[in-house]
Amino acid sequence: MNTTLIMSGDYSVIIVEGRVDTTNAGEFEKEVMAVVESGSEKIILDCSGLKYISSSGLRVFLIVHKKMLAKKGCLKLCSLQPGIKEIFDISGFSSIFSIFPDKQAAEGD
């Protein structure tokens, strides 16, 4: 798992790469929460490099989602690979997250 933060317009774009599972979900949470707590109002999680996500990883996505809801910011996901999209679909998470096919679409919305 590896995360990279880039600023793109108003958005803090966090590029997530590799696997997010039980072993590194805590680390992932810390890195993403650091961005959330730095005051970013608009966050895009770019999942183009995300290979696998476990329920622990989903939990982190959910925590970020809840945080952003609480501070009235917005969290968007983009570029989910089919396998990841499937997990989001199966778990019903697709219905609570704003998911976009790519970064441009996410920023344009």
């Binding site: 696998y52 939990r59 199966i90």
Partner: protein, 642 residues
């Protein structure tokens, strides 16, 4: 590897160094010692030559005086003709070295004596005899001793000769010419001679000793050997005949120089047939008689003392090196003896005896440091082992607690199959395999209101103890809620509300909950974010349930869940599972996948519940191929026999 001791290495290196050092020192010493000895010997020999020549000269010059005085006396007409013989007799009587003396006159010097007049006084036995030489048979005018001084007008030493009449001794004759003043002109009048024995000369020469067998020899003007330790040479050989016999061009060259009256005090190499080995020679002429004296000494003897010294030195050095080795061995053994003890201690420590006694070190050196390190290691190991024991027991405690937790958790889910022997409508089998000691998956089933069969399968986010606690809460809530509420959506909504409250950890549970009417076969179900189950119709058709639009329970308190319905026919089967099945991973990271699940179901369409689960489990194991199980694996099959 061959085992060698430390002292062996040290001794070897020190000895090699010492030997190398000794060789260098010895070479230098030997070179200079040789040079000095050669120079000293040369000087000694030169000194000997000079003193010997002086000694000979003293005798010879003294002997020369007598005839010279007589010549002067004759020239001054100081003695009468009649007193000549008594005069000579008295001269001989006081000088033992003189064997004879002649005064030989020119013809008609004394007219009354006629042609020949040469009174001769000589020793015979112990008396002194007189005779008058000269007659037709003995024309002394033509003798060397007479003719040479006459022609050269100089005194003359004859070549030495053996006097056959006078006791066979080596003799030489010294002739001095005398003159008469005739009308103011010096006219040759005759010769005075003395015969002198050379016995003393041999004695002087024999006395010359240099080194062990160094010797002196004397050559006449013509190179005849006058004196030599090898008496066979004397008067029989010249240096040139010896050189020729022995084919020694160097010796001939030396001989030539000697009879030319040259002297050499720079020792030169010389070889002699008489004396083997390399020889050195010095030579110088005798000023009066023009003879030449040589001193010879062998090189071997020159360095004999040096070689003797070398031998002593070598013996001393060998003794020194041997004692050095012994001393080094003793010192090193003494210094390193604790090392062996340390090695023994280390072996004992390695075998677990941390409190082994260390060798006693009295010195304050590296051994002490080693001792300190060793005792530090002992202490640390001891402490480490104590800590390890503590941690191990703590870990064992946790493990045993986890084992108990696992038992409790397992006891919360039904695990007796078939569960309802009296309930002919239901055939069911389920398994749960946790990835860790305790897991977050769950399944449950029970009968409500007598004719309704409620079942659920779920997966808590995460794993381990937190997930297991969450799972226990979920399972308990489902049971207690369904006592009062019978619709799946209501049950899930109620569950969601309960667990969402104060859910600071943001954990959630996916859940598929169904209520089957055993009479009608109508199935009502709610899927809260769980993997869609598979429906296997009795006729062999298989369907995967639609994906849910409902999120897992525990996320949002007020979330509204709905429910769907489905009519089961007798013989239809449901296959429910958690994502541990579809996401079972092998070492390459390949997931088992839903398509594999569907494929296996299609290939085993008539399998019984337990049979299908076993097949599925085997296929998962084959796919994972020994790779660590990453998630809990739960499967449940329900057959409705309406």
């Amino acid at each position: 590897m061959k085992r060698t001791s430390l002292s062996y290495h040290i001794i070897k290196n020190v000895l090699l160094f010492c030997i190398a050092l000794f060789l260098v020192i010895f070479s230098v010493y030997y070179y200079f010692a040789r040079k000095t000895i050669r120079e000293d010997t040369r000087e000694n020999s030169v000194y000997l030559a000079k003193t010997t020549i002086n000694k000979i000269e003293q005798v010879l010059t003294l002997a020369e005086k007598n005839p010279q005085i007589i010549a002067k006396m004759l020239e001054a007409s100081f003695v009468s003709k009649d007193s000549l013989v008594p005069f000579l007799k008295s001269m001989l009587s006081v000088n033992d070295n003189l064997y004879g003396s002649i005064i030989a006159f020119e013809p008609y010097y004394y007219p009354e004596q006629g042609m020949y007049y040469a009174p001769y006084v000589y020793r015979q036995d112990d008396s002194i005899c007189t005779s008058i030489l000269g007659d037709r048979n003995y024309e002394y005018f033509y003798m060397d001793w007479y003719q040479i001084p006459k022609i050269t007008n100089k005194p003359y030493w004859s070549e030495p000769y053996f006097d056959e009449g006078g006791g066979n001794v080596l003799m030489t004759t010294y002739s001095v010419p005398f003159y008469k003043d005739v009308n103011g002109a010096k006219t040759f009048s005759g010769v005075v001679t003395i015969d002198i024995t050379l016995k003393w000369l041999t004695e002087i020469i024999t006395e010359v000793k240099i080194l062990e067998s160094g010797y002196a020899f004397l050559l006449s003007r013509n190179g005849v050997v006058i004196s030599h330790p090898n008496s066979e040479y004397i008067m029989n050989q010249t240096i040139f005949t010896i050189a020729k016999e022995n084919n020694q061009p160097g010796m001939r060259e030396t001989g030539r120089r000697m009879i030319r009256g040259e002297s050499s005090f720079q020792a030169a190499e010389f070889r002699s047939a008489w004396k083997p080995g390399k020889l050195w020679i010095n030579y110088a002429p005798l000023p009066s008689s023009k003879w030449s004296m040589g001193i010879i000494y062998p090189e071997k003897e020159m360095f004999a003392s040096l070689h003797r010294m070398n031998f002593i030195l070598l013996v001393l050095i060998i003794i020194g090196l041997v004692s050095l080795s012994v001393v080094i061995f003793k010192i090193v053994s003494k210094l390193t003896s604790p090392l062996k003890d340390f090695a023994d201690s280390a072996r004992l420590i390695a075998s677990g005896n941390f409190n082994v006694r260390l060798p006693e070190i009295k010195t304050e050196d590296e051994m002490k440091e080693l001792y300190n390190s060793f005792s530090f290691m002992q202490k640390e190991l001891d402490e480490y082992m104590a800590t390890l024991k503590e941690t191990t027991s703590a870990k064992e405690k946790i493990e045993s607690e986890l084992r108990i937790a696992n038992e409790i958790q397992m006891s919360m889910i039904p695990h007796i199959f078939p569960p309802f022997p009296d309930l002919s409508q239901i055939d069911l089998f389920a398994t749960l395999k946790s990835a860790k000691e305790v897991g977050g998956d769950l399944y449950d089933f029970f009968v409500i209101e007598g004719n309704k069969f409620c079942f659920a399968i779920g997966d808590v986010s995460g794993k381990g103890v937190p997930a297991s606690l969450f799972m226990a809460v979920t399972r308990t809530l489902v049971r207690s809620i369904s006592d009062n509420v019978h619709s799946p959506s209501a049950i899930v909504e109620s569950l969601n509300r309960s667990i969402s409250q104060n859910n600071d950890s943001n954990m959630f549970v996916t859940l598929f909950l169904g209520v089957l009417d055993l009479k009608t076969g109508e199935l009502l179900y709610t899927n809260a974010g769980h993997n869609p189950p598979v429906l296997i119709r009795k006729n062999g058709e298989t369907f995967m349930f639609e994906k849910t639009k409902f999120i897992p329970a525990g996320l949002f308190e007020d979330f509204k869940y709905g429910e769907s319905s489905l009519k089961l026919e007798s013989g239809d089967m449901l296959f429910l599972y958690t994502d541990g099945v579809s996401e079972a991973e092998n070492v390459q990271g390949d997931l088992f996948g839903e398509h594999s699940v569907m494929q296996i179901i299609n290939n085993n369409i008539n399998a019984r519940p337990q049979e299908l689960i076993n097949i599925m489990g085997n296929e998962i194991s084959a796919h994972v191929n020994g790779y660590t199980q990453s998630d809990d694996i739960t499967m449940m099959t329900i057959v409705y026999n309406g």
